[in-house]
Every structure is written in C-alpha cells, then in structure tokens.
Symmetry: C3
Subunit: 267 residues, 3 copies
C-alpha cells in the first residue's frame, strides 16, 4: 500500500487535517495516510525542516511526504514536488525540505502549476486542502511528476545554525525542545568527537556532568547530557523536564569546552 | 474502501477515541476511519455543526460521518441516522447535523433504537462506545437504515447567528477561532457582495483595511480581512494571531459599513 | 486486517509517533495502526496501565497492543511480549500490563532480546522507534513469540490503590481525571453494592446526592455521582467540569458512608 505522510502546523483543533485526508481519499481511497505531526508551532519552518529530516527515512520506499507549513500561502511562493531515489516530497518552496534533501539523491524537481489537479475554486488561505491534498492524491494514483508542472533547478534553503568555535570553547544552541522537555542542541556527534579529551558542558552557567549513556546514569531529578534520538547532543533531566529545570527556550545557548586535565566522559 | 469519519469532543488525552475505533474495527476490520477533530470544546454543539458543514463534502461518496458531541447522553434525546444522496450521518438529535443537512438532499432519517446493534450493557455515559461505534460499524458492513429503528420526520435544529443590519451598518460576530488565531465571522460572501461600493470594517473600534486577497497583502504583523476557507469573512494578522492581536473571543462583534466616498476594496 | 494499537506518553508535538508508524509500515505495509492515546502524562505508568485495561478488549482478536511509557529506557528494565488467549501485549516490564493481564489468560511471556529484530544502532533514548516498533511489525508479519527471546515467568506489577474501610466509612481516591473533568475514583461497582442501604458521598467535605443514572438527573451545573464507563464511581458536574468545580486532583480523597436512616439512592 502506498503511504502519504502529513507534517503541518494545522493543529488538531480545527477540521483542517481531516479535510485534507478526505480530499486525498476521494481521489485514492486505498492509500495509507500517516500523521508525522500537526503541532509544529504556527509558521515555524525550521521546526518542520528539522522534524522532517528526523522522520522521512523511517517510511517505506515510495512514500509521499507532504509538508505544509506555509506562511506565504496565497502569495508568490512556488509549490514544489521533489522525487528522490526513494521518496517524494511535496511542500511550499520555503526551505522546509532542505535539511532532508541534503541527505538524498534528487532525481527531479517540478514546480506544481497544473491546476487541473487542484480543487476549484482555489482558496487564498488553504492550499493544504485545495492544492497539496489533491496533488498528493493524484501522485499516489500514478500521475507522473512532469504532469504537475515544469522542472525547476533551484529551491529555497534553510540551515541548522552552526555552533561557534572560539579558542577551546564551542557555543551551541537549543534548536528543538521535545514533549518531555529534553533540550535538543545543534551539536552533533561528529562535533562531539572532536573533543578527544572529554568535554565540560555548561548550560545557563550550570555544569552538566559529561555524556551519559542513559537517563538513569544520574540520580532521579538530576540533569545529564546524552546523544538523543535525533543524533544531536541533548540536555535532559532523569524523570523530569530539562526545559522546566533550567527555564530555557529555543535559541538559548550551551557551552562546551575541553577539561583542563583528564576528561570526564562517562561512556 | 468504506470511510467512517469521527467528529467529537472526546479529546485525545483519554482512551475514548481509540476505544471507539476498536469497536468499529471489531465489527468491520477493513473500514477506513478518519478523524475530523476530537478537540471540539466540551459540549459545544455549534462548533460541531460548523466544522461538520465545513468538512463532510470533501469525503468520498458513501462516507459515514459520526458526530458525537452529546451533553444529553443517558437522558431522553434521540440518536439519529440520516441518509442523504451521497452520505450517511449518525449523531445525537441535538441540532449538530442541521448546518450540513441544509445543503443536502435527505433521503431518510431513522431514530436508532434497535439494541441488537448496541454493546451491552449500554453505559449511561459513553454512548460513543456502546451505541455510535457499533451502529457505524454495522452500517459500514451493509445493514440497512430501516434495521436500526423507525423513521422520523423532524430533527432538532441549530442556526448560524445572523448578522444584524441597521441603516448602512451591518453587525456580525465571531463564530469560530481557528488554530492560527484567525477570527471567523458569520458574514458570508453573499452578504459582502451587497456592499457594492466597498466596505469599511471595524473590529473592537479599530479599522481594518478593505478585503485582502492574501495574508501577505499587508505588512508582517498587520491585521487584514479576507474570505477564509470556510467561506466567511475572517479577520487575520499576517504572520501572527488575530485572536491575540485584538484580544477577542467567540461571540464578539464586528462592524461593516459602506464607505462615505469611493470604496477601499482591494481585490 | 491485523491491528496494532499504540498507547504512549510520546505526545503529538514531536515526530515520535509518526516515526514509530513508519517503522512498522516499512515491515508490514498493510497493518492497521490505531492510537489509543499518546497524551499519557510523561512517565505516568499507572495512567498507562489504567487506560490499557479500559481499552484492550474492545479490539479484534489478534490485536497487538504496544504500550510505551518507559522511564527506564536505556537502563536495565526488560522488554516483554505477552500472548494471551486473544491478544498480544508488548511493553517495558514496569507493571503497565498488570491491570489488563489480571483479566486475561496468559499463554506465554518472552523477554524481547533478539536484536536481529531491532533497528541498528539502537539508541539509548528511543526504544519506541528502535525496538518496540520493529518487534510489533515483525510480530504482525507472523514471526513467533519464541523468536524474540527467552520465556520468562514473572513480570512487574502495578495495583489500583484500594479504598480503605473504617467502621461504616469507606475512603477512596481519585485515580483518573478525564478530558471532561470527570473524577474517576477507585471505588468499583462491587464495592458500591456492599452499601445495601444506600450511600452518602462526601468529596472535599461537600455532600453529593446518591448515585445518578445520567448527568441530567441533576440540574445544570450541579454535581452528581455516577457509575462511569470505566466501571468505577465517578464524580461529575452536569454540563461542566467536576475537576474545576471541586478544585481536585489525582490522589485526592472521597468518602462514602451508609446513611443513618433510609437510603438516598436514586437509581
């Protein structure tokens, strides 16, 4: 069975997501539709790009990933449909595909313009229903990329903010806070491995002890650093929320430096 | 594949929605179940009626729409099953179907009373599980309307509150606030078109500039009026929440009048 | 069609639940996946056990119930897979199956250890994705229990706290508060029936009138006691939230005693 995933900021309060599914199923009744998340903060393009990168490759080959976080709806931004070796991606051309596509071999990109695939009249405010849903439906039914619009070469980009190196000190930042209050930073495993003699971590001036292998490496209610499931360094608290413990929010800073003597790395 | 949609105020915190799906799938394992929303404010019948109207016709012919917002559960209200030309609707008889049915050709209405289709014992508090779910399951399996109970002629009604006209001034109200903080009013396109010379809009005493064609017609963070995807005039803010910007809530007023000289309509 | 249910504390903000579904569908594309809830309070094992007990048996025979509320992820706790006469249960071995299993005939329990069924590398923080999802996928595909690991005899237990009897007075507590603010107590129907002469209920010192048959037995906005859909005594308010009305929370007390003269039981 063909799968379509949905990643949006439409929330689950209104009927928006249900209607999108209705439109798809009216075109292709036996497609499987999976929600990745609809609770992206309104218009937070980076969060969409970040969660898409952390999700898309867990799905079966041929999956159609539809991402609608679209502050430019009704204005001039393009809608793009991308085919890679294993997947399809459909989204506004505002950079939300760029973190995922960095890892993929792109085969073709088209600008979605053929309005024979759109619901009419196309509203000015809900392209999720009027364009994204029917295009995903027809794509899952077998229509070819070239039928949806002309090929394009360049698409918009978003980047993960890079940590700053200053002498022995590396300053990163919080790029995502998950449901448990874990603070996901922009410091990846490769960067961490450059600290060959271990690492001292400070967050809001408070030291965090080395890198733990599990939440339970420290006492209940104590903070720790761990390589999280996103592949980045996370700050967590065993049995509680690091977001509340440290009173931190997205973009706040985290500092790493090599210890003066031997390392304190635990695992 | 037959589709059943669910629109309820059961929320996603408890197991209520999952259990309803289990009961349906135990009767008809290959039916497709789609959530329209479960986050209707508790017992808000108008919100259910409004979102149903804005959703039902996007689904495939033959879809069974199940709506459970049911302050009268366990008391005397009927449960009704309605067949229209294209759809089935199952809900408590408390008016929540009336906005959708106004647009549909009704073929038959029955009062659901045949308890051979119910889970036993029927609880006093969760007819979603004990009556609505199994009835939807058996209906999707092919049982006929007449098997569920006797025909009825009249059902309860809910109306959209109508805007009030006073000289040149029209006073509407906010009937829905969506996840983005857009303020949906009860002023529809037809009413707007009666303002042939353009329209001056005031909300909480503050003027809003004409009718925009997209959110980006005004500067970032500025308010606008737009015909939204529900088909009604909406007040929005480009890139932000009009609900927060104006500090408004449901039932608050909006005023429209013809401009003294030439119109300010933009699009 | 085989059904897999998911009951977790992963929330719907991140991509966690979507990714779990992707992993399952990559292994078994035509399985049906149903959410019971993902909004269990973070790491609240009792809530998971309670909602599982109230849900599992509404699903078709052969359903695989996957429950991931897992404060011990990455540490020493086992992962168990249980086959009963009608269902499969997969969860961390931390007691969250024990309320459901009390009602079931257990056929076999294995400790899930065969990492050929795991996603590699197995993260330290997201066994939902790396272990629970693929194991559920392969189980739905037909792999046998014995392939996943060695048989075990004992698993961890959680209990519902028991009401305390003291002379004629029974003191119970609130064990769950639902989306409507209904206060679910630990007083079951059998216990209630021991009050043969009726029962006087006090909650936070305020009397509640007998046991009602429906919410509408009392005036709008008035409190009542009712046997809820979980099979326990619940305190509710007609048309409103008992949680707000009484300002109560989980673990707060409720007192029952026999009335001095004739009973006040209504139904």
């Amino acid at each position: 069975m063909r799968i379509i995933t949905l990643l949006t900021d439409f929330g689950l309060k209104d009927n928006f997501v249900g209607v999108i599914k209705g439109v798809i199923l009216k075109i292709k009744p036996d497609v499987g539709i999976v929600d990745i998340s609809h609770n992206i903060d309104a218009q937070d393009k980076f969060a969409a790009a970040f969660l898409l990168k952390a999700s898309y490759k867990y799905f079966p080959e041929g999956t159609i990933h539809v991402i609608v976080v679209d502050p430019g709806v009704g204005a001039q931004r393009k809608i793009i449909l991308v085919k890679t070796k294993e997947y399809y991606f459909l989204s506004p051309d505002n950079g939300i595909l760029s973190l995922a596509l960095k890892e993929e071999k792109i085969e073709r990109i088209v600008s979605v313009e053929n309005d024979k695939f759109f619901l009419k009249p196309v509203s000015d405010t809900f392209h999720g229903r009027d364009i994204f849903a029917p295009v995903a439906g027809f794509l899952s039914k077998g229509n070819k990329l070239s039928e949806f619009g002309p090929q394009v070469k360049h698409i918009e980009e978003i980047s993960v903010p890079q940590p700053q190196k200053n002498n022995q000190k590396l300053t990163g930042q919080i790029i995502h806070i998950d449901r448990f209050g874990n603070l996901v930073t922009n410091i990846d495993i490769d960067t961490l491995q450059s600290f060959s003699k271990g690492v001292k971590i400070r967050i809001k001036g408070m030291p965090v002890d080395g890198i733990s292998a599990s939440y339970q490496d420290v006492g209940f209610g104590k903070p720790l650093a761990i390589i999280g499931s996103f592949g980045y360094l996370e700050i967590a608290v065993n049995g509680a929320s690091a977001e509340n413990y440290f009173s931190l929010r997205k973009s706040d800073k985290i500092e790493l430096e090599e210890p003066p003597e031997e390392g304190s790395r635990k695992s």
